[in-house]
Amino acid sequence: MNQTVTINISGIVFHIDVDAYEALKKYLNKIKSYFKNSEESEEIMMDIEARIAELFSEKITSENQVIQAKDVAEVIVIMGKPEQYVDEDEAQDEHPKEDDSSSKKSSSSSSKKIFRDPDDRMIGGVSSGLAAYFGVQSLWLRLFFVVAFFVGFGFLLYIVLWMVMPEAKTASDKLKMRGEAVNIDNIGKTFKDEADKMSENFRKNGKHYGRKAEATIESLFNFLGQLLTGLFKVLGKVFGVVFLLVGTFLLVGLLGMLIGSETIFSITTDGVFSITSQEFFNLIFISEDQFHIAIIGVAIAIGLPIIMLIYAGANLLFKVKTYAGVSIGLFVLWVIGVFMCAMIGIRMGAELSEYEMVTIEEVVTNDANDFYISASQSENPGEGILEGKYSSISLDKDSIYMNDVRLSIYKSKTDSMEIKLVKDANGKSRKDAANHAKMIRFNYSVLDSTITFSNYFSFPKENKIRGQEVEVNLYLPVGKSIYLDQSLKHIIHNVANVTDTWDPHMLGKKWVMLEEGLSCLDCDEIEGVTTLQLDSIRKYVPEIRTEK
C-alpha cells in the first residue's frame, strides 16, 4: 500500500505517491534555485509547471489514477535537469553551481511556509492555507472562523490574515504550503539540521584547535544550539499566539467602545460604567466635530499600536511578508492621531479654564433649639452612567444628575440659623462659568425643625459636565443643637468640632454649638475637652461622663 498526497499544479489536481511527490518537490526547488536571480523566474516556473501538468495528464488513465515515481522520473527526463539547459543559456551565467551549499539552500528553502490556498477557498483561501500549514482539515478552520465571526473578532482576524498571508501562486509555493506535516519526527530533524550546520561552521572556523577539544566543544555547541533554537522557536510561537489573541480582543473592544451601540465598559472596582461612547462624549464635548475628532483620534492613537501587536504576532507565527514604507506611514498616522487627541485635550482645557461661583443665602426663621438634619436617600433620577461611592452621574432626557454635594457646618455670627448654598462650575470664560453655576438646581426643605438636603443636584444636558459642585454651608448659632442623621454620610464634609471627631463618626449623634465650636452632646465618652468646655457642655447634659 502506498500513501498518496493530492497536489495542484497549474489548476489541475493530481494524486501522487509520497516518494514521487518528494522527487517532484526536489526537482522544482532545484529549477527555482537556478532562476533565483532572474526577474522572469516566476513566469518561467509557471510555464514549466503548466507543461509538467500537461505531461502528467497524459499519464493518467482510467486504470492508473496516481502519479508514480517513474512518471516523475520520465517527466524529469523530458524536461531536463536545469543544469542541462541553463548551461545552454547565456543570460543565466550566474546560477549557483551544483554543490553542497546550493543543495542545502534549496532544501532549507523548501521548509514549510504559510500561504493562502487559491484552489480550495471559500473567501480568500485563508482557512485552507492555515489548515495546510497546521496539517488539519480546512473544515475545522472554517468552523473556527464562523464561530469567531459570531463571537465578534473573526471578521477582523480574517481580514488581517488575508492581508498578511501571500497567495500560493506556483506549484512550488503550493508544495511549500503543505510542506512536511509538523510532527515530533521533523521537529527533531529541524534541531538536528541546525546542530549539524553549527558544527559545520565550527569545524570550518576552528580547524587549528586540537581534535579532542573540537569534539568536546562541538558536542557542547550542538547541545546549546539545539536548546536555544528550540527554546526561541517555541517562545516565538507562544508570543505570537498571545500577541494575536490579545491584539484581536483589544481591537474588537476598542472598536466596540467607539462605534458600538451597546454598553462600552463596566469597571467594577469603585464605579460602574454603562454607557455608549456616543452618550459619554456628548456629556463632555460641545460640538459634533469635537466628538468625531476625539473618536478618530482615540481610534488611531490606541488602535494602531494594537494593530501592530496583531501584526507582530502574525509575524512571529507565520513569518508573513513585510512591506517597506508601511511602518513609516503607520507611524505618521499614529502621530496624527495623538495630535488629534492632544488638540481635543487643549480645547477641553480651554473649556474648563475659568471658575465661578454663585451664592444663595437663606435665614431659617425657626425658634427651635434643636434641629434635625438629614439628607434625602433617593437614588439619582434617570439612568446611571457612573456609580461611585462619592460621585455618581446619571442622565435623563434633558438633565444630568450628579452627587457632588458637600455639607459643612460653621458657627453662625447671628442668632439665627442660616443656610448658604455655593454653586460653582468651570467654563471657558468667567461669564460662561457663572452661567453654568447658575443653571445648577439643588433642593432642600425646612419643615419645622427638620432640614432635609437633597443628595444630588442637576443641570441641563446642554451645559455639559463642567466641574459643577454644590457646597452647603450650615451656620449654627451658639447654644443651638443639631442631630446629624446617618443619611448625611455621603455629603458631610470636613466639619470642624472641638473633639476632632471624624465626619462619619459624627453621624447619629447630637451636637451643640458652643463658643469653642461644635461639641458632642450624647457621646458616651468624650476626650480632649478642657474643663471649661466640659462645664459648658454640662449645662445641656449634666450626666456626661469623662474619663478620669
Binding site: 499544479i9 497549474s10 489548476g11 489541475i12 529549477i31 532562476f35 532572474s38 522572469e40 513566469e43 518561467i44 510555464d47 514549466i48 503548466a50 507543461r51 501538468a53 500537461e54 495528464s57 497524459e58 527526463v77 523530458i78 524536461m79 531536463g80 535537469k81 536545469p82 542541462q84 539547459y85 541553463v86 548551461d87 545552454e88 543559456d89 547565456e90 543570460a91 543565466q92
Partner: protein, 107 residues
Amino acid sequence: MKIENTKAQMRKGVLEYCILSILKNGEAYPSEIIEKLKTGKLIVVEGTLYPLLTRLKNAGLLSYRWEESKSGPPRKYYQLTKIGSEFLKELETTWNDLVKAVSITSK
C-alpha cells in the same frame, strides 16, 4: 576542446532563429514548438525552451494569448510581433549569408 561544447554553441545560435521561423507560419503553443525542434534535434530537453520564450517575449519579439485546453492547463499561444517579424527577416539574411559562407569555404 570538447566536441559537445562546440555542438551546443552552434545549436544555441540557431535556436532563436528556428523558434521565430516556426512562429512565422502562425501562432503555436510551446508543446508544438518543442515537437518541431525535437524533430530537428535542436533541443534535447524541453526545459530549454521556456526561459528562451520568456526572454523573447520580454524583448518584445513575441506576444501570447491564453487558450483553454481540454486535456490540461490553459495554454499560451505565442505569435510574432511586428518587431519579431523584422528581427526574423534580418536573421534570415544572416543565415543565408552563413550558408553561403559555409558552402564556399567547405568546397
